[in-house]
């Protein structure tokens, strides 16, 4: 699907906190051994960081690249499963901080790890219909994992923001997209619970692989293309193995997914995961390159997007810090410090 009017990405920006904990350190604490760890290390948010602060910095980077008047942004939508408030929008604060208020739509989106691309999809429609000129779609999370659970090895923190707008102003134009959704309860968190529940291996074949690969296949079919028609590809990345395997199933090579495969260094940033993969890929893409992107959110569904990079990428990407600047900015912490930073200590 795509709107009648061409739409695309006018500006993009990422944010990743500076703290890192190695998966081996988590394994040491829980006596799990170091064989077959799903990632090398993950990003950990600081005491003063959350989805709102990370979204603001990613959005400011997107604004620096787009160089538009924030008053022209008609929608600020933040996708996350770790909004700091249970009731009160993150998006109003983000909109206020970038000075997009008050004539703006603001809302928080929720669809596990694909809340960010869901916001992008809706924003494309909003712009394509002519209701707004620009929309800001953000995917961000400070992911939660129960201490000692398999999730704890990978739950990271980060954000990516996209200012979407008319195709003629874009650094990457949307060629086609689709959403593929079924009710597959592989992962969820009930109200008032600190940590989510998951179905272990049930999150694999019937959830991640079925939705990611089917969405990817159907988009390729709609466009009459194969993986060889793309320069780059980005997949949702709960660990290193899953996106590597999904890419292989669709015919993409390790080289095509390399720039956007950051889970090994920053962990699974949930709603930020494939969006941060996209910002890192845009950092290296050349005019004319095609980018294939498939998100995945538990519950479950995938958004698949086909983008073509324009000449505008060359100048615009210089205007803000590249994704890798955040990935490389790292301070390693031990499990005790990580427990403090993530609020895992009961103080009273």
């Amino acid at each position: 699907m795509k709107p009648n009017r061409p739409v695309g990405i006018v500006g993009y920006g990422a944010y990743v906190p500076r703290f890192r904990i190695k998966a081996a350190e988590i394994a040491r604490v829980w006596g799990a051994g170091e064989g077959g760890l799903p990632i090398e290390e993950k990003a950990v948010s600081g005491l003063d960081e959350d989805v709102i602060s990370m979204s603001i910095e990613a959005a400011r980077n997107a604004l620096r690249r787009a160089q538009i008047d924030p008053q022209e942004i008609g929608a600020v939508w933040v996708g996350s499963e770790s909004h700091p408030y249970a009731v009160k929008p993150s998006s109003t604060l983000v909109a206020e901080a970038i000075e997009a208020t008050p004539l703006v739509s603001a809302a928080d989106w929720q669809f596990a790890c694909k809340a960010g691309t869901e916001a992008m999809q809706a924003a494309f429609g909003y712009i394509g219909s002519g209701m707004v000129h620009y929309a800001l779609a953000i995917g961000a999370d400070t992911a939660q994992g129960r201490p000692g659970d398999a999730l704890e090895y990978t739950t990271g923190a980060g954000a990516a923001a996209f200012i979407l707008g008319p195709g003629e102003e874009s650094l990457a134009v949307l060629e086609e997209s689709l959403s593929y959704v079924t009710d597959t309860p592989d992962f969820f968190r009930r109200p008032y619970m600190h940590y989510p529940e998951h179905g272990n291996r049930f999150t694999g074949d019937p959830a991640y692989f079925h939705h990611s690969v089917t969405a990817g296949q159907k988009l390729l079919e709609q466009l009459g293309r194969t993986a060889k028609d793309y320069t780059w590809a980005v997949f949702h990345q709960p660990n290193v193995k899953f996106p590597s395997k999904a890419a292989q199933m669709l015919g993409f090579s390790p080289e095509q997914i390399a720039p956007g495969l950051l889970v090994g260094q920053i962990g699974n940033t949930y709603a930020g995961a494939s969006p941060i993969g996209l910002t890192a890929t845009l950092d290296v893409a050349q005019p004319g390159d095609r980018i294939f992107m498939v998100s995945f959110g538990s519950g479950a569904g995938s958004d698949a997007l086909s983008l073509q990079v324009t000449d505008a990428i060359v100048e615009r990407r210089k205007r803000a810090a590249p994704t890798l600047a955040y990935v490389k900015r790292r301070e390693e912490v031990d499990y005790a410090t990580y427990a403090r930073l993530r609020g895992k200590l009961q103080m009273a």
Binding site: G36, R64, L93, A112, F187, T203, A258, L262, L324
Partner: protein, 162 residues
């Protein structure tokens, strides 16, 4: 619920956008805003948004924090000389206390300042940190490819997608 809501709301532009004021009569810049220009005593002050760039003028590390900040200690508070002139007192973030020095370049970021109790408002505002990096020439491809080479490793016990 503690009734600081209105005060925090009134300060939102100052805290989120580093909005001060410029005197329309003499051009003097002030932060935070005030009703009278301290230089020429004019009352014609207009909102002015500072760039957020500056350098550390002085600093100190807080080990015995005031109520509400216990969970963040130790933290470093600095006077930051903004590029446009005014001095701002703010927390530093994303930097270790022992690596801060007078003259260190910093940039403004928006972070959580404190929580108004367990069920109260989350208050956000400006802090300063060393700049992440200056914009590059855009050529980082070889670096990226080297850094993100997929890891080939043994089968993990359980891999969870979500």
């Amino acid at each position: 619920m503690p009734m600081e809501l209105a005060r925090n709301w009134r300060l939102r532009r100052q805290r989120l956008s580093l909005e001060g004021a410029q005197c329309a009569a003499c051009g003097h810049l002030v932060f935070p805003t005030r009703p009278v220009c301290p230089k020429c005593r004019s009352r014609q002050l207009q909102p002015y948004r500072f760039s957020g760039r500056g350098e550390v003028y002085s600093f100190s590390t807080v080990y015995e924090p005031p109520a509400g900040f216990e969970g963040y200690a130790p933290y470093t508070v600095a006077q930051v000389r903004l590029a446009e002139g005014p001095l701002v007192t703010a927390q530093l973030t994303d930097v270790d206390a022992d690596s801060v020095y007078i003259g260190m370049k910093v940039e403004m970021v928006t972070r959580k300042l404190f929580e108004d109790g367990e069920n109260g408002l989350l208050v956000y505002g400006y802090k300063f940190r060393p700049p992440v990096m200056a914009p590059t020439n855009g050529h980082v491809s070889a670096d990226v490819l080297a850094h993100t080479e997929p890891q080939h490793e043994a089968q993990a016990p359980v891999l969870v997608a979500n």
